[in-house]
């Protein structure tokens, strides 16, 4: 089961869950993903130990997609 989560005040919220072979669930996940991008979130996917990638489209095969806020120098 793949998951789209957003880091927020609750720790994190699960926005969508899907399996790649379920088109309806994928469609719902894509919609949730785009809604978060519109809110200014950035999407990250772990690509192995110590590596992550910023993605602009929902990677349907990814097990975990994490939405984060932008960072800035303090």
């Amino acid at each position: 089961m793949c998951r789209l989560i957003r880091m927020d005040h609750t720790g994190h919220s699960t926005l969508a869950e899907w399996t790649p072979d379920d088109p309806a669930a994928v469609e719902a996940a894509v919609a949730a993903f785009r809604a978060e991008l519109d809110r200014g979130y950035l999407a990250m996917v772990s690509t192995g130990p110590g590596h992550a990638e910023h993605v602009r489209e929902l990677p349907v095969e990814a097990e975990l997609v994490i939405m984060r806020l932008p960072i800035s120098g303090g």
Partner: protein, 231 residues
């Protein structure tokens, strides 16, 4: 580097040179020169005063105090980047989000880093530029064994949601950004201090010092490994 690999936040600081190993060396040397420029004149003035007029001892002592205090203040500024945020909502209401956020952070790092975070509140992350220690609102880079770079960087405080994030999520934000583009991360972050690790260690909270020690040990083992297998 392909645009897709560049941290999106770098666009907000387009005038900054991208931080790489050469940039770090240059910045490190500039910080050393700055420290010397603070210490030598005051130390020299104290010496000169004592040679010319021993009765000027109090003034000479003030000069020496300046020579000591100014570098210490810089080191304190560096240590402050790892200082955890104050949490006004601490208590039962804040406990569950904290646990959830730490759980997610734990999923992102290995067992040793998880254990170190539990003890020190910092996440150790090896990178291409050196070894990082990531906190809630900043990160420290150990670049070689002789220099640390303290960066102030946090979830963009202009976002309303940023104020509500629990500590684990704050670290996870920085960790994911660091992992996706380390040089971009160092470019976006503001450098608060660069200097010798021992200067930072003295100013760090006691419970955080083992993290610095662990980071230095990692660096030592990496250097030894690189020496054994240079290719």
């Amino acid at each position: 580097m392909a645009t897709a690999d560049v941290l999106p936040e770098v666009a907000g600081v387009h005038w900054r040179a991208r931080v790489d190993a050469a940039q770090l060396r240059l910045r490190g040397r500039l910080w050393t020169l700055t420290t010397i420029a603070h210490v030598v004149p005051f130390g020299g003035a104290a010496t000169l005063l004592m040679v010319l007029q021993p009765l000027a001892l109090p003034v000479a002592l003030v000069c020496l105090a300046h020579a000591w205090i100014i570098p210490e203040l810089y080191a304190q500024r560096g240590a402050n980047v790892l200082r955890p945020r104050r949490r006004p909502a601490d208590g039962p209401r804040g406990a569950e989000p904290e646990q959830r956020s730490v759980g997610l952070l734990g999923d992102l790092v290995g067992h040793e880093a998880r254990e170190l975070h539990a003890r020190t509140g910092l996440v150790l992350e090896p990178g291409g530029l050196g070894t990082w220690l990531v906190g809630e609102s900043g990160a420290v880079l150990l670049h070689g064994r002789r220099r640390v770079f303290c960066y102030c960087v946090k979830v963009d405080p202009r976002r309303r949601q940023a104020a509500e994030l629990p500590s684990g999520d704050r670290i996870a934000h920085l960790l994911l950004a660091l992992r996706s583009d380390e040089q971009g991360f160092a470019t976006v972050a503001n450098l608060a201090f660069a200097g010798a690790p021992w200067r930072l260690r003295r100013r760090l909270r006691k419970e955080m010092r083992p993290a610095l020690k662990a980071a230095r040990a990692t660096l030592g083992s990496r250097t030894a490994h690189e020496r054994r297998s240079p290719h």
